[in-house]
Amino acid sequence: MNLKFRHKKITGILTILPENEVKFEDEMDQYNFSPAKSLKLKMAMGYNTHRVAKEGVCASDLCIRGLDYLFEKKLLDKNEIDALILVTQSPDYFMPPTSNVIQGHFGLKQDMICMDINQGCAGFIIGLFQAFMLLEQDEINKVVLLNADVLSPKVSKRDRNSNPLIGDAASVTIVEKSDDSGIIFGNLKMDGTGFDALIIPAGGSRLPASADTAQLHEDAAGNFRSLNHLVMKGDEVFNFVQREVPPMIEQLLSTAGCSREDVDFYMFHQPNKFMLNKLADKLGVPREKMPSNIVENFGNASGVSIPTAIGFNLGTRLTRESLLICLAGFGVGLTWASILIRLENLDFNEIINY
């Protein structure tokens, strides 16, 4: 569906990455493949280093570090937060919402809404849509959108499909009302028939975690994982992305009356370099305009990959310049969504360590 928003703006983006950096080569001997084959995979997918949280670090810890930083630097006043949205697939608890936990930690005012959203690869876009909708309210002037995932403990170390690319991270995005009458265009689609293309089968109500679900099994490609682990049908996801994302972007741009060339950057979700390069080629967009360097440097932290790409590739440029940016997220759900937005004169756009 097509969406439109007016009088909204992003005023700051902060990404928080765990300090702990793991190299692809250091994990190669865990995979059931020859080193030559693994190195070939590294080349094709653009794997190198990824950031993995130390044991015990939760999504909320990364968020709290980010918010602490913004409060200390006086980039955010905690009394001005009218809504706290947390998009995560790795909440601290089943109940309560982790956004409430964060609100409590900082003693934020009670006159506000806390909301957890279970979304992944498209989670930055879905979170922005939710923030824009909340800002329609008279009493909501500033929304803090948190994207955070610590999924590395959910990925088998012996799964060559997922382990080399997984990254942990969080981001804090400030979304506010704006006097600018420019329209923000959006597009959103979902297909729940593909719910098992990316899934953690056990640990929820359908299949509670048990000694049985913790047993490692070898798949046809030689990867070992248990039902407690994240499993991805890589070829299906690849096909889905190549089939659905280019028409979505074309629809978004045509609704906005904007050409491909008008867009300064395509900041897309970062599954791997290979997939992004194919997407850029298919869309007829120069690869320099669609950065694909997040997985090789930090790993793929689902909904945090877009803010990380914006922080890493544009940094302080966005505090001085005005750029038209097309954002797109796609994956788990299946969900695919995009936004065309002008980012300009941000108060901050940076990356810090946890």
Binding site: D235, F238, R243, F274, D281
Partner: protein, 74 residues
């Protein structure tokens, strides 16, 4: 559909390999850059451009670019 056009579309799936390495008799799995990912991208291209659905299993039985061209033409 011309063989030469198909060879070009085939070569477009590669970034590093020089175009001169692609011919009808090229055993594509022996190309340094070939990987299962290239295979996925190739099947995607064939589906989008030639409107023919080739499965990964079918592709496994094919070894040269010419054979793949003939397979699609049938």
């Amino acid at each position: 559909m011309e063989l030469n056009d198909f060879i070009k579309d085939f070569a477009d799936q590669f970034d590093e390999t020089d175009f001169s390495e692609f011919a009808a008799e090229t055993k594509f799995r022996e190309l340094e850059e070939w990987s299962s990912l290239t295979g996925l991208a190739l099947l995607n291209m064939i589906k989008a451009k030639y409107k023919i659905h080739v499965t990964a299993e079918q592709l496994l039985k094919i070894s040269t670019i010419g054979e793949l061209f003939n397979f699609i033409q049938q």
